[in-house]
């Protein structure tokens, strides 16, 4: 999937996607020196912002793990990353059938909470997965990216009765999703 490309989340066999997962994975910073505790940990955070007609209504991130309506769930904050072999270190699960009727867009973002740019992070990626069968719908490699600390990944939005996903991939800078709001609004 490339930037700006939109795919319908309707399956080939006519069924629609009911659950998607945004996964984020990265490799933990290597242990340094005698005092391993002084390793500069890398903390990336995945967030999802729920919009109704361009108004942010709810947000799911590490301080609010479940949207009030229960349809979007964050599996929990990972502060250090993983082994960097493709597993998701943070994930956000969206139950599309239960998203409230007025929510028409969900924006997924990634931030570097500890401030390292994506150039400095090893093996970082984020991806969108069809949760019902584990198929990957889109994947971005963040590692080795540019000199920025955040990315607006993708949006999942209503089109008629179904949902469509559009890859965005816009780089931005910010510590949490709040800092990204000015960058998010143009892509709505």
């Amino acid at each position: 999937m490339t930037k700006g490309q939109a795919i319908s989340l309707q399956k080939n066999d006519g069924g629609t996607l009911t659950a998607v997962r945004m996964g984020l994975g990265w490799q933990a910073a290597p242990r340094r020196g005698l005092f391993g505790s002084r390793t500069r940990e890398i903390d990336l955070d995945a967030s999802a912002v729920l919009f109704a007609d361009k108004q942010p209504v709810d947000v799911v991130f590490f301080r609010h793990l479940v949207s009030d309506d229960g349809s979007v769930r964050h599996t929990g904050d990972n502060l250090v990353g993983g082994v960097g072999q493709g597993g998701d270190d943070e994930a956000i699960l969206v139950d599309l059938a239960r998203v409230p009727v007025h929510i028409d867009q969900i924006i997924f973002t990634v931030n570097s909470f500890t401030g390292q740019t994506f150039q400095e992070v090893q093996n970082a990626f984020c991806r969108l997965v069809d949760e019902t069968n584990g198929q990957e719908l889109a994947r971005y490699t963040l590692a080795g990216g540019g000199n920025y600390t955040a990315q607006i990944m993708a949006k999942v939005h209503r089109s008629g009765a179904n949902w469509t996903m559009t890859a965005i991939g816009t780089p931005a800078n910010g510590r949490t999703f709040q800092d990204l709001m000015p960058a998010i609004l143009p892509v709505l």
């Binding site: 066999d13 209504v57 229960g70 349809s71 009727v101 007025h102 069968n133 198929q135």
Partner: protein
């Protein structure tokens, strides 16, 4: 380095001894066929399948499983073999899925013996197929390579094998499926869960090859270190190896030895032995074979499969837990959360619809063009229609969820045990004195204004972590209904019903109730407790009585605290009553001096940790003279109201829930009957 292959892609194989790992979300049959230079399969003896799992240089599992490891030794293959075709099939007739389109995409990986992946391939894009050629290992100019194939066959194994030029394809497919069915019948991991007894004959019927057989047919070099698929099939708790000399084995277990030899399986398996480790290909059982741990919980009732497009029918106890009570408790909390969240979705949608309508109406109003002609009216109309449409949609979603929750409440309520049930539940008429403390207690019902009829039982864990405050003052929303005296009476009735409930759900003698009623104002309301004789003593009256009860309880809390902190719980005085204690305080602060108030605060702070709980029946206004000094006391107690009042918040969204205490139905004697039984049980237990 793993090469992630796509369909048609090939990759060289650096080693000759390999494992092919298969993982599919559902049990599948894994097999392999061998092909000659022209790609022809020369006969059924060139097919490794569960009925004939080993060929020279190749070994597959004997049964269907979600995960497989196929052992391959390319050097041990016959020189005329040029291709090894790895195939997967869904076993028919097991009640499982019949098409790969219905299951997660199978994943296959070629790994070295040390587990490093050489190449992997996820077989995507399958739909109606029930058999698939996953990989081909092939020899090209003396070098072995692997190719990802992913060719599916809707006609199943028979069609797949026919396609490879095997004349006996159909019979072979049949015999493979039969072998799988047999394997499944004795498989430990086979769904659905069966009665423990049904698993026993599996022990001797396990398809373990005898030691000699194992040595004879396992591919050279692979036998020693492969694979759980071929791992020791030990039935002895001491873990004797099937590779060992059977003569050295414990002579008292001849039946095991003969089974291991592949001889005729004895018909009568040793009884009382723990279940054998799973048969080949199954997961490893790590439990100690000689130990009976806690009995596993009986399988929870699960909802029957739903009609397509319809939500499943709710079933009581459809949640996780080790006992039915725990499942019901979890289910009730699940319903609580679901109602909170679905209402949050509805309210959020309605709020949004309203704010959008207001914005649009404002815009119409500020637009000078709209003042002439009918444009303004049309725009207003459109804004209102949009609002109505969105609210309708939200209401439809809410109604759908409420209908499901209503149906769930209808099946859950009758299934609740006494401690979770309201007083009008028939379970209270069949009340028996319990032998152990239940996990939770129902304090009342909770509901939201959108769904007055969906009542969620309010369950709190026992032992209580906080004291209770039954507010006898005028409540915020419903104060007009009852005058002050009536409210006080209702509050005390509520307190008595709750105290009776606590007495009833604790084993006899494990819960003591003290009452402070300084002016005797609550004598009539307290009568059920007094008459049944379940109180630790008569209600304490007057300042002296207050001081006496508080003094005894304070001393008790202090004593137990000291014992617990000092790690000397056994040094409590002999005959010390270890029961939990509840102190009901009516008419606070009447009859309380400063010392008594301080003691009360001490009990509220320190008591719950050592099993002394407080239940205040009070109007905060009566104690207004103390000023802010008592604020921490009120805050530390859980406020309940005798009349419905929306002051409780859920932990997820923070809605204001209306609490309503569980009342004894008017005219019912159930409270007295229950208390009589409690008193009788106490007398007969002499406690």
């Amino acid at each position: 380095m793993t090469a992630e292959l796509v369909r048609g892609q090939n990759h060289p194989l650096p080693e000759v001894r390999l494992e092919i790992r298969v993982s599919a979300g559902t049990p599948v049959v894994a097999g392999a066929t061998l092909g000659d230079e022209q790609g022809r399969v020369r006969g059924v003896e060139w097919v490794a399948h569960p009925g004939a799992p080993t060929l020279p240089g190749l070994e597959v599992s004997k049964q269907a499983a979600a995960d497989h490891r196929l052992a391959v030794d390319l050097e041990a293959l016959s020189p005329s073999v040029h291709r090894v075709i790895v195939l997967l099939a869904l076993p028919p007739g097991t009640g499982g899925p019949v098409r790969f389109g219905a299951v997660a995409a199978p994943f296959v990986a070629v790994t070295g013996l040390d587990g490093t992946e050489v190449a992997s391939y996820t077989i995507t894009g399958l739909d109606a197929e029930s058999a698939v050629v996953a990989l081909v290992l092939y020899r090209r100019q003396g070098v072995w390579k692997v190719r990802a194939v992913g060719q599916g066959y809707a006609g199943g194994l028979a069609e797949l094998l026919t396609d490879q030029g095997l004349p006996e394809a159909r019979q072979l497919a049949g015999s493979i499926h039969e072998a799988v069915a047999q394997g499944l019948a004795r498989s430990v991991a086979a769904p659905p869960p069966r009665l423990p007894d049904a698993g026993r004959p599996r022990q001797t019927a396990s398809p373990t090859p005898g030691p000699d057989q194992t040595h004879g047919t396992t591919p050279q070099g692979v036998s020693g270190n492969t694979s759980p698929t071929q791992g020791p099939q030990t039935t002895s708790p001491y873990g004797t190896s099937p590779y060992g000399d059977s003569g050295a084995r414990d002579a008292s277990r001849p039946d095991h030895a003969s089974a291991q030899h592949g001889g005729p399986a004895p018909a009568d398996p040793p009884t009382g032995t723990p279940p054998a480790p799973p048969t080949a290909g199954g997961p490893v059982d790590y439990t100690h074979p000689g130990r009976q741990t806690t009995a596993p919980p009986p399988p929870p009732p699960t909802a029957p499969p739903a009609q397509p497009g319809q939500p499943s029918q709710p079933v009581a106890g459809d949640a996780t837990g080790w006992s039915m009570d725990e499942r019901l408790y979890n289910q009730v909390w699940g319903m609580f959360e679901d109602l909170a969240r679905t209402t949050a979705a509805y309210r959020s949608a309605v709020d949004f619809a309203e704010s959008r309508m207001e914005q649009e109406l404002d815009k119409v109003l500020s637009d000078p063009r709209s003042r002439i002609g009918g444009q303004g009216d049309a725009a207003r109309e459109a804004a209102r229609a949009k609002h109505a449409e969105l609210v309708d949609q939200a209401r439809v979603a809410l109604d759908r969820d409420l209908a499901q929750l209503r149906a769930e409440v209808d099946v859950v309520e009758p299934a609740l045990p006494a401690a979770f049930a309201s007083w009008d539940n028939p379970v209270w008429h069949g009340y028996r004195v319990p032998m152990e403390i239940p996990m939770a207690l129902r304090l009342g019902d909770l509901h939201l204004p959108e769904s007055e009829d969906v009542r969620i039982p309010m369950l709190v864990r026992l032992p209580l972590e906080r004291g209770l405050w039954i507010d006898s003052g005028p409540s915020g929303s419903h104060d007009s209904l009852a005058d002050s005296d009536e409210l006080r009476g209702l509050a005390l009735d509520t307190a008595v019903a709750l105290a009776a409930r606590l007495l009833a759900v604790y084993p006899p003698g494990d819960f003591g109730v003290h009452v402070i009623d300084p002016a005797g104002a609550g004598a009539s309301a307290l009568a059920p407790l007094v008459q049944a004789g379940v109180l630790a003593g008569p209600p304490a009256a007057g300042a002296a009585g207050v001081a006496d009860v508080l003094g005894r309880l304070t001393q008790r809390v202090d004593l137990v605290h000291m014992a617990v902190r000092g790690g000397a719980a056994d040094s409590l005085p002999p005959g010390f009553d270890t029961a939990e204690q509840l102190l009901i305080v009516n008419d606070f602060p009447h009859g309380f001096d400063d010392r008594a108030v301080t003691q009360l605060r001490y009990l509220a702070d320190e008591g719950p940790a050592v099993g002394v709980h407080l239940m205040m029946v009070a109007d905060r206004q009566d104690a207004a003279a103390y000023g802010p000094l008592l604020d921490p006391l009120w805050r530390s107690l859980m406020r309940l109201t005798p009349t419905p009042d929306d002051h409780l918040a859920d932990p997820w969204v923070g809605h204001a829930w209306t609490y309503e205490p569980s009342r004894v139905p008017p005219g019912s004697r159930v409270l007295q009957q229950v208390l009589t039984q409690v008193a009788e049980a106490r007398r007969s237990w002499n406690r």
